[in-house]
Symmetry: D2
Subunit: 269 residues, 4 copies
Amino acid sequence: DSQLTLLAGPCAIESYETCAEVADTLKEVCERLHINYVFKSSFDKANRSSVESDRGQGLERGLAILSRIKHDYHVPIVTDVHESYQCEPVSQVADVLQIPAFLSRQTDLLVAAAKTGKVVNIKKGQFMAPEDLIPATRKITDYTSKILLTERGSSFGYHRLIVDMTGLIEMRKAGFPIIFDATHSVQVPGGYGGHSGGNRDYAFPLMRAALEIGVAGIFAEVHPNPPEAISDADNQIYLSKITPILENANHIFQEHRKDAEEMAANGLL
Amino acid sequence: DSQLTLLAGPCAIESYETCAEVADTLKEVCERLHINYVFKSSFDKANRSSVESDRGQGLERGLAILSRIKHDYHVPIVTDVHESYQCEPVSQVADVLQIPAFLSRQTDLLVAAAKTGKVVNIKKGQFMAPEDLIPATRKITDYTSKILLTERGSSFGYHRLIVDMTGLIEMRKAGFPIIFDATHSVQVPGGYGGHSGGNRDYAFPLMRAALEIGVAGIFAEVHPNPPEAISDADNQIYLSKITPILENANHIFQEHRKDAEEMAANGLL
Amino acid sequence: DSQLTLLAGPCAIESYETCAEVADTLKEVCERLHINYVFKSSFDKANRSSVESDRGQGLERGLAILSRIKHDYHVPIVTDVHESYQCEPVSQVADVLQIPAFLSRQTDLLVAAAKTGKVVNIKKGQFMAPEDLIPATRKITDYTSKILLTERGSSFGYHRLIVDMTGLIEMRKAGFPIIFDATHSVQVPGGYGGHSGGNRDYAFPLMRAALEIGVAGIFAEVHPNPPEAISDADNQIYLSKITPILENANHIFQEHRKDAEEMAANGLL
Amino acid sequence: DSQLTLLAGPCAIESYETCAEVADTLKEVCERLHINYVFKSSFDKANRSSVESDRGQGLERGLAILSRIKHDYHVPIVTDVHESYQCEPVSQVADVLQIPAFLSRQTDLLVAAAKTGKVVNIKKGQFMAPEDLIPATRKITDYTSKILLTERGSSFGYHRLIVDMTGLIEMRKAGFPIIFDATHSVQVPGGYGGHSGGNRDYAFPLMRAALEIGVAGIFAEVHPNPPEAISDADNQIYLSKITPILENANHIFQEHRKDAEEMAANGLL
């Protein structure tokens, strides 16, 4: 609780080299700043807007790359699962199984993930109210108490997400650590013809605001060259900018922790 | 195209008897009114708000009941699939495989459903714009051209859906028949503590409005005793009211067909 | 109640000639179809997105033109008021004083309009729930019972309105006739740089859907040459198309009246 | 720019005594913290949900009280105007004329306010996108350059506002100082029968998040005993809690200023 958690990495597992480049930088910055770092990348982009979009390495090759990253950089791994059968093999490598936002209501997937004994990170559906995460967590508390809840924006008309900062406070009432996903929150879903767009420039300000509200961690997709990324090209953060971003984010996190004690003493939290 | 299509039945397969009671009435009314009737019921409520909620019969027993209904009432069957592995066994019984709204972006599920050769009914996600269905259909047009697209409301703030009637017109541009789901459109998602509520009284008016906009078919959940239903108790239509509802709906459908020719001649459509 | 009401005319009073051309056609069609026709035009576009946009004739010249139209075509007049002081002079000419949607919560304006003894047409704010019109009407029921309530869409994200057809049913509970504004409902607010755009093609389908839900009247802006109109160029209906539109709308209205009796007898309304 | 601005006071002018009590505390805290303090209170609640709600003192008595507060506490005054005729008399007392959110598109009111030569604070309509404020400001830049822009939430379904933190950044592009209204942003509009409710507990967290995004000032309604206030009883901040809130807010503001320089140097802003 005294350390910020960071789930970050390239959106999709494009190659070992890309993953390694990101892991290398993030591992080092996070060690220096005492941030808990978890490497994130997806073996399959299972819900692309368009079928023409690249889906990544697939389960087998993807897990092999994640396994190498884990071994080479000594970092825990988070990756997402899309159907129940994937949970067991993914849990052989990943430390955190992530339930994608669209799938946050799929009971079988939640239960299969929970039964692996790994941490389960449930992303709040874009169609869900924050308090609706409480019954979602109850689907799996018989199997695990290692649960993270992640906010990544709510539907606001067509082709637009909006982050309800008060929702982060509501989500805390479920009793689990809250993660703010800074890069998916700035997606423009299905907004540019067949693919989703995004507004990268807003990821950092929203991250700052969420940290000031009070979250346990930050989720961010980071890529050496986002415009060339096979997915989320418009919202991934440039690896070259991540160091000052994390320094600032960690500073706000630590300041907020100090303030929180004083605010609690003043009956403000 | 000259006949209205109806996809209807109890939300969940509670028992053979409930299914049979509904199928019996709907079959008879639809035959009299020359409506294409497809029996609908779900073997698994895979995305309940709460884990305490009953999920129904499960795949094996559910398919057995659907098979008996098909045999006993000579009706085609529509039911939903939640993970790719279900598509093949479900296609042994069902004539239409339905992709739930939350899953409308899951490429593997769409493709698995399409590969069965059965009709695929894609429900528009509550988080999708109507035009976003076009890339969704392109994911499967290599495998099938038998596609239906169903509207069931869009997220409008928390705990509320809204039906964009102009969206039905947008959805037609994908080139496939459009179905309006009158009962899920009046759901109040996650609105009553751990379960979803609904406003049954609005299902029929919305059905009328959608028919006046111009749709190929209606989807409706119908139950002999909705308050006792294991799911969607607040929005299923009473079986005892379905006859006058369908008579009226069919009347509007037929009037609209006649008007449409005249309107087209006047450059209004 | 057995006749459809139509409030229609060019958005802004551009000239006597434009108003007369529209009034002439609409008067004649409505007489033939037994529709209650009320001529609508605005003397001032008081809430343009941009200050560069033309605001029309202003109060004095605008009222003079409305007065000529009233005299020459023997039609009642509806026009909108923006500040309390306008209500008295406007009531010298207009039979219906319209409260713009943005101003639907301005108590002084509502009361000043009501005190004139003329009919008051309250447009539902884009930011209001349908049931919020009930307290709005209570602000003036001490002064008048001649109230109309008009739906013109609700905010749905940025730059987009959506019509909640179930809201028309909710609004009826206030006990006053409900009007559906078909052309402002298809506005794209502030969507095209400094001015508002629109989607004219959706006005007629939405009108049809609203009539099938059940409304007392239709509001529509009609112009001989919409692209040249000084306001709402993208959503006004072409005068040349209004005759078949009104024939169809009136047909649906009359069919709905017949159906409504039967539906009521069947406990469906 | 190096000092935080605070526009705060009781929502409505209930009495000289209430105003004085609030002004006294806020003046003192703000002096100590080097915050620019502007006393805010409304002489008329012109757009109450319900006519039964108290509207306050009215123009004449209200201005007299504001004048006494200005004289007794040496504080500048901000108050809102609802119709054009009010701008001139209000400008005799007020230093800032505030355009209510519902009225942010009323050109006459904006221009009348601007012509007084006083500062004009335009609240963004709940129905407006942030970039729509740019044409709104252009309506008055011929008359004044002393403009503030205030965010107070956007419509998010019925009976709910949501604050788009990225909107604060968009609004800055208009070139004027941005104020965040922490207490109206947590209103629940028209939510409790005939009146608006609110969620006071979220005002302070949202204020913190907005300061972390970067705003020039904070707007907040503060009352000695909010539950007894004649308006906004559910969202005004307790006067007894305002000191630690302002200390914390000012701390975040100052930290953000320091960070902003560094972030700018790192290409992050």
